[in-house]
């Protein structure tokens, strides 16, 4: 990195800033919930068994899972927006999420035990990934146009099969399916958390290393190639890593929408288009976003719970529009 100094300064500013936001959000989320816990006594060491169980067995795994999922989905979103050069791209647009949902729903309708559902979803995602990559390759090259079309058709096809499965499901299964598709942050156990967090870090580091290449890609594929970027390798690697990340996220939590679309855009509007800044901040910011959304899901209608996808849409949509209008407005004034 030849332009090290300004970049390093910006990273040194924004990464700790967003990490602090994530930490603060996580602490608030741990302290708040449908149950009123007397946390003052926690500091005095005298929390009763019930409060301890709620805090450590329910809230902590859920907050950690939300942070990992939010980070994973947001980073995947940055990658897809970079290679597709389309502002509407989100992790679900390329069809892998459709395959994951189909696998999960098929397992639910077949009456599989709950622990097999995420595995079936992941298998569905891998099958979709293989099929899409095979179908979208044009003469050995990964054509963006073909990727988008194949993905859209795959999502429509999976959607139709899911509707079919819903029509033959029993009433109780139907309820499980609907909530599975809406997406929920699970109170994940150790291995799932390690998997989600670990893959999030791997994808973040890999995309960070490709940061300059992503910046070059915004000039177009020919422009980037002229700057020395191996465009095919970049597209393929980004697509594979991003799809695997999406597959993991959807298998664990269903289709939580908006995170992978809105968080990269919010950060781009606030911090600029340099991917070397965007990638790590998206990981941290996405985590904070989903932790906050899940907190809302857990508390807004207490003792009831909302599906988290509802909250991400309500949070993300209007805020994003507001930010977009203010940015557009300031551009017009110049």
């Amino acid at each position: 990195m030849t332009s090290g100094s300004p970049l390093a300064r910006r990273l040194a500013l924004w990464i700790p800033a967003l990490a602090s936001v994530l930490l603060a959000t996580a602490l608030v989320a741990l302290a708040t919930g449908a149950a009123r816990l007397d946390l003052g006594s926690l500091l005095g060491g005298g929390l009763d068994a019930g409060a301890r169980a709620i805090l450590f067995d329910l809230r902590l795994p859920r907050v950690l899972a939300a942070a990992a999922l939010g980070g994973l989905l947001s980073v995947a979103g940055v990658g897809f927006q970079a290679i597709l050069r389309n502002p509407l791209a989100d992790p679900y647009v390329l069809g892998v999420a459709g395959g994951a949902s189909l696998g999960g729903v098929a397992a639910l309708v077949a009456g599989a035990p709950a622990v097999l559902v995420p595995l079936a979803a992941f298998a569905g995602a891998l099958a979709a990934l293989a099929a899409i990559e095979r179908l979208a390759a044009v003469g050995g090259r990964l054509s963006i146009y073909s990727l988008l079309l194949t993905g859209a058709i795959f999502n429509a096809f999976s959607g139709a099969l899911i509707y079919f499965l819903q029509s033959v499901a029993s009433r109780e299964q139907l309820q499980s399916i609907v909530f599975y598709l809406m997406g929920r942050v699970p109170a994940a156990r150790g291995t799932t958390l390690a998997l989600l967090g670990g893959s999030g870090l791997v994808v973040t580091l890999a995309y960070f290393a490709s940061g300059r290449a992503f910046n070059a890609l915004s000039l177009g594929e020919e422009g980037a190639a002229q700057l020395g970027v191996d465009v095919e390798r970049l597209k393929r690697r980004t697509f594979l890593l991003g799809s695997l990340a999406t597959a993991l996220a959807v298998s664990a939590a269903g289709m939580i929408g908006f995170v992978g679309l809105v968080v990269p855009h919010l950060l781009r509007l606030a911090l600029g288009p340099d991917h070397r800044i965007l990638v790590p901040t998206a990981f941290l910011g996405g985590g904070a976003f989903l932790v906050a959304a899940d907190l809302g899901a857990r508390t807004l209608v207490a003792p009831g719970e909302l599906p988290v996808g509802v909250v991400t849409a309500i949070l993300g949509g209007p805020f994003f529009l507001l930010l977009l209008r203010r940015k557009r407005g300031s551009e017009h004034d110049r």
Binding site: A34, A35, G50, L58, Q175, F179, R298, P303, G304, E305
Partner: protein, 311 residues
């Protein structure tokens, strides 16, 4: 000639409209048909149970997916939805369709009425509605007095439970109908009423719906003393006085005192003519010291009797 040619389409349309206006509904729905229907289709399990108790199971010619066939008979299935296909009903010469009241099926029901098939949509969700449904079904099949007697005997059993429980200390009860996400019986459900009349307080009484998705930690915070878990929809169970997944929370009074019961869904979840039996069952689960210990068939139905017997 040209002028008259142009008039032809209008005349044709006018004749078509007139003929539509003159269409008369089929005889059967024009009221006054005094004979009770002899061929019934039943979609709601509670309605089938009511007919069995009134001794009118023989009139059933087709059933929905969730209905148990009357002993030993094999009947055509009509599907899982509240409004089965009109073609199937007409082919079977069904005269009366018994189903649950739901807004979703009302369009199909109107179509069935126009074909001459009477539809009786009964409330199978609330406590009071269930008892009214028994009377309505009795009236529809011409056994009104028997139905009224049946309701009276159910009400006597319920009152007996209520009286016994009145003097007992209330226990906090959680009734689980679905896990992952957690669904519980809330206010307005028949389960909520059963809990209250049998000497309990529903910890989810402030939930947003009669079957509500709730946060687990909120339910844990309320420290239920009895947990009734009917979330396992598969017939295999295991059912009984076992802790299951609730053993994760030993600080709950229900877990510490071993008052966690896994129940097969038919024991409590489907209101119908067995409401009196359900009230007594709830009494045994909540207050065994006053109603007697829970019986084996409180957790799961007893094995069916050997074939050859039955109604």
């Amino acid at each position: 000639m040209r002028v008259r040619a142009r008039l032809v389409p209008f005349v044709a349309l006018g004749l078509a409209a007139a003929s539509l206006a003159c269409t008369r509904p089929p005889e059967a729905t024009r009221g006054g048909a005094a004979a009770p229907p002899r061929r019934l289709a039943v979609m709601a399990p509670a309605a089938a149970e009511t007919l069995a108790l009134l001794g009118e199971s023989a009139r059933i010619v087709a059933i929905g997916d969730f209905v148990e066939p009357p002993a030993g008979r094999s009947l055509p299935r009509l599907g899982a939805y509240d409004a089965p296909s009109a073609e199937a009903l007409v082919a079977l010469r069904v005269e009366l369709l018994l189903t649950s009241a739901s807004a979703a099926g009302s369009a199909e029901r109107a179509a069935l009425e126009r074909l001459g098939i009477r539809v009786l949509a009964v409330d199978t969700a609330t406590f009071a509605g269930t008892l009214d449904a028994i009377v309505e079904i009795g009236r529809a099949v011409g056994r009104l007095d028997a139905a009224r007697e049946l309701v009276a005997s159910i009400e006597r059993r319920i009152e007996q439970v209520r009286a016994t429980a009145a003097a007992l200390a209330r226990r906090r009860v959680l009734v689980v109908v679905g896990r992952d996400p957690l669904f519980v019986a809330g206010p307005g459900s028949h389960l909520d009423e059963l809990v209250t009349l049998a000497g309990g307080t529903n910890v989810a009484a402030d939930a947003l719906a009669s079957y509500a998705m709730v946060s687990l930690e909120a339910m844990l915070e309320r420290r239920p003393e009895v947990i009734l878990d009917s979330a396992d929809n598969r017939a295999t169970g295991p059912f009984g006085a076992i802790l299951g997944e609730w053993g994760r929370w030993p600080f709950l009074p229900a877990v510490a005192e071993h008052r966690v019961f896994h129940l097969e869904p038919s024991r409590l979840l489907i209101p119908g003519p067995r409401l009196g039996e359900m009230a007594e069952r709830m009494g045994r689960l909540l207050h065994p010291e006053a109603f007697g210990a829970p019986r084996a068939d409180d957790y799961a139905p007893a094995a069916p009797p050997a074939p050859g017997g039955g109604r």
